[in-house]
């Protein structure tokens, strides 16, 4: 019966558009490619400087033995978290709407894990002795736990990405039969003789079923052991029993947000509007909101318990984080990185938001003009004003107090709300970018303040050793890693269709996701916003 079935039904218009994204590369692609390669090259130059002169070119010192590199490590591993995990959970629970986005989510895991796994090596004082980890590795060190779990997760998630891609690769094998040799060879090898027989399909389903279940504990273990490089020390601020689940929740939150960014980017660049609809953004938005609330809960629990007691050892880093040196960063991660994104994602569902536009001081044009002018004045005046005692009264301007900034920020937010309501995808993108900026900064705020307040006071440190300000080398390598992540992701989407063709084609699945079947997946949640 299946022999009679046409092996390759004609491609629908949206599939043709998707396939064109593999080959049609405009100037935008090449500009991006060039930019990314330039940033990566710059990062490599920075790394060679570090190799040559030693880690002294960073601002890491004995008191701040870890900094931006380890922040990047935790961040990338966190972003990598959600791809395979979310896709596995959605597969197991049979959430049909997942179909067009699982592959881009799983590819994030792949690209991000590569960069995350690179970071400890960048951080290493003696990368030339890396083989010692294999020759003399000791299983009681959390470094070894990281190595084992990350390599397992990388292998597992790569398989998890690859296996459901096989039918699509077979499809590409036929399509590029007369294409460039590298594509022909690549697809032929990777398709592993897929013919789409009933037996093959059965195997594929079975493998995916097993992998979807296996990948969940592996994914959770990865970020748990990442947190334990901190949790296994005695340092106040790291010595926490909930660091494992806390980091897992933060990882899920930032990873889900990264998927939203990727969805919007590919939808826009590859014209995938027929695949990725507002429904997907809404559903992913719910996921991000839920994960954000779990994360906020963990943050609250993590900080309240020591802050309530204010034990001597914890007092230092807690006051630095709440009201001292790191307060701006910390409160930005909480307000800008959790609260605002969650609000932005709920905006399309809030009925009273359009009414805001009718409030006089919230009319977009005058309000935005006023806010922009005030910010300009606040930021530029201190540089322009002469430094004289007579201008002492301008202290407010010279050092704008936080409440002015907060008030301006709040005003800006309220002004933008009605605009975001009309553009839910833009709101989702802004929210997800905020989440990821906040996520990176939060990891920084977990690592550095604790190091600033060790048990014994920092004394007799050579000049400049008692504070941590990342250097250009650290920033360059960080930018290079970020560019590397985007590059791997971009090239992946040029070799393999970023949306699964065979999975979005399966019977019973309506291409027009805007009107999903009522019942399990439909209902009020999918109804258009009032």
């Amino acid at each position: 019966m299946h022999a009679a079935r046409p092996q390759h039904p004609p491609f629908s218009p949206r599939e043709q558009r998707l396939l064109r994204s593999l080959t049609d590369s405009g100037w935008g692609f090449y500009a991006l490619l060039g930019g990314l390669l330039a940033v990566i090259a710059w990062g490599i130059i920075a790394y060679t400087v570090q190799l040559r002169y030693g880690l002294v070119v960073t601002f890491l010192r004995d008191n701040f033995m870890w900094g931006v590199y380890i922040t990047n490590f935790v961040f990338f591993i966190g972003v990598s978290h959600v791809g395979a995990l979310m896709s596995a959970i959605l597969r197991i629970t049979g959430a049909e709407w997942r179909r067009p986005i699982t592959r881009m989510a799983e590819a994030i895991t792949f690209a991000s894990l590569l960069m995350g796994a690179l970071m400890p090596f960048v951080d290493m004082g003696r990368p030339d002795r890396v083989l010692n980890l294999l020759l003399h590795g000791r299983l009681q060190s959390p470094v070894l736990w990281d190595m084992l779990s990350i390599t397992t997760y990388l292998t597992g998630s790569t398989l998890f990405l690859y296996v459901p891609m096989i039918p699509d690769i077979a499809l590409l094998r036929e399509r590029f039969a007369a294409g460039p040799a590298w594509r022909r060879r690549l697809y032929t090898v990777l398709a592993m003789g897929w013919k789409g027989t009933e037996a093959q399909r059965h195997h594929l389903e079975r493998i995916m079923g097993v992998m979807a279940i296996l990948i969940i504990p592996i994914a959770i273990s990865v970020h748990t052991v990442v947190s334990w490089i901190f949790g296994m020390t005695l340092r106040a601020g790291w010595n926490s029993t909930i660091f494992g689940p806390y980091f897992v929740s933060g990882a899920l939150f930032s990873g889900a947000a990264a998927v939203v960014t990727a969805m919007a980017a590919f939808r826009w660049a590859y014209h995938l509007e027929d695949y990725i609809t507002e429904v997907h953004f809404r559903r992913m938005g719910y996921l991000v909101i839920a994960l954000g609330m779990i994360y906020a809960y963990f943050t609250f629990a993590e900080y309240l318990t020591p802050a309530y007691k204010m034990a001597a050892a914890e007092r230092g880093y807690l006051s630095a984080v709440f009201s001292g040196q790191f307060a701006r960063l910390f409160w930005f991660t909480q307000v800008g990185g959790v609260l605002l994104p969650v609000l932005l994602l709920t905006v399309p569902r809030i009925a009273w938001v359009p009414r805001l536009a009718r409030v006089p001081i919230l009319r977009p044009v005058p309000a935005l003009a006023t806010i922009a002018t005030s910010l300009l004045v606040l930021l530029l005046l201190p540089a322009v004003l002469p430094q004289t005692a007579a201008l002492g009264g301008f202290a407010v301007v010279r050092q704008p107090p936080p409440w002015i900034i907060a008030a301006l920020g709040g005003w800006l937010f309220l002004t933008l709300l009605p605009l975001f309501r009309q553009r839910p995808i833009a709101a989702a993108v802004v929210a997800s970018l905020l989440v990821n900026v906040g996520a990176w900064l939060k990891r920084f705020v977990i690592i550095v303040p604790t190091l600033q307040y060790p048990f014994l006071p920092i004394q007799r440190a050579p000049a400049g050793w008692a504070i941590y300000r990342p250097t250009w080398v650290e920033w360059s390598i960080t930018a290079g890693a970020l560019a590397g992540f985007v590059l791997v992701y971009l090239l992946f989407s040029k070799v393999f269709p970023i949306v699964s063709i065979w999975e979005t084609r399966e019977e019973g699945h309506q291409p027009a996701l805007a009107s999903p079947p009522a019942g399990v997946h439909g209902g009020a949640a999918d109804a258009p916003a009032p």
Binding site: Y53, G54, L55, V56, L60, R61, D62, N63, M65, W66, P120, D123, M124, G125, R126, P127, R129, V130, N132, L133, L135, H136, G137, R138, L139, Q140, S141, P142, V143, L144, I229, F230, M232, T233, L234, R235, A312, A313, R315, G316, L451, Q452, Y453, P454, F455, L456, P457, I458, Q459, R460, P462, W465
Partner: protein, 259 residues
Amino acid sequence: MRLFGLPGAGGDPALAYAAEPNTRTGPGEAGRHWVMVIDLARCDGCRECTRACTAMHFVPSGQEWIRVYEMRDHATGNAYWLPRPCMQCDNPPCVKVCPVSATWKREDGIVMQDTSRCIGCRFCIAACPYQARGFNWVQPAESEEQRRQPYDMEWNTRHFKGTTEKCIFCPGLVKEGKLPACVSACPMGAIYFGDQAEDAVTNSQGETIRFSELVRENAGYRLLEELGTEPRVYYLPPRKPLYPTPPAEPAPAMVGGHR
């Protein structure tokens, strides 16, 4: 538990760590249990100990393997000097986390450091609650003579870029029957060194005292005892200090200093 390098309940933690199959410097002198006592009442903060240590081991710039802190535990408390060598913990947090056995616990109590194996991950620095470990952020300056010396971790000869170093109780000197560099350099005789098994410690002034009595009678304590690191360095409290104490204003960011 031995498999994981963790001390078994009730067992001798030093032995549990010695089970780590590492005989690069041998187990140390058989039956010895090196121990240090620092009498804070006799410390005048001259930092001769630090200088002697730095000179003897060519300690790279930026590091102090025995650092003299200015401490003050609370606002009404007396300010005092606190020399801090490596505590040679019997439950060493640094040894637990080292991924390549570049640091390990010898049977004589010394937490050794093999800079020729260290990969520079700095996990041990993060794990040490006493800030007792330093890192070579650059290739340390070495004289021609130093460079010709063979690598000998018991003498701390040769320092390598990108590796961690620390105080190891001068096992080279101790083997020759001498006191560690900081102990013999202390003009006040504030630092005692000896063998816990023999129950005798000696200072630079040739006073040899029973270790257990010295600690018991002077209410000796160990730094950050509550962390359970089981240090091999004991402090005698700075009661009625014999010499000028640090300036009265508390040093910045002063936390801990538990006493």
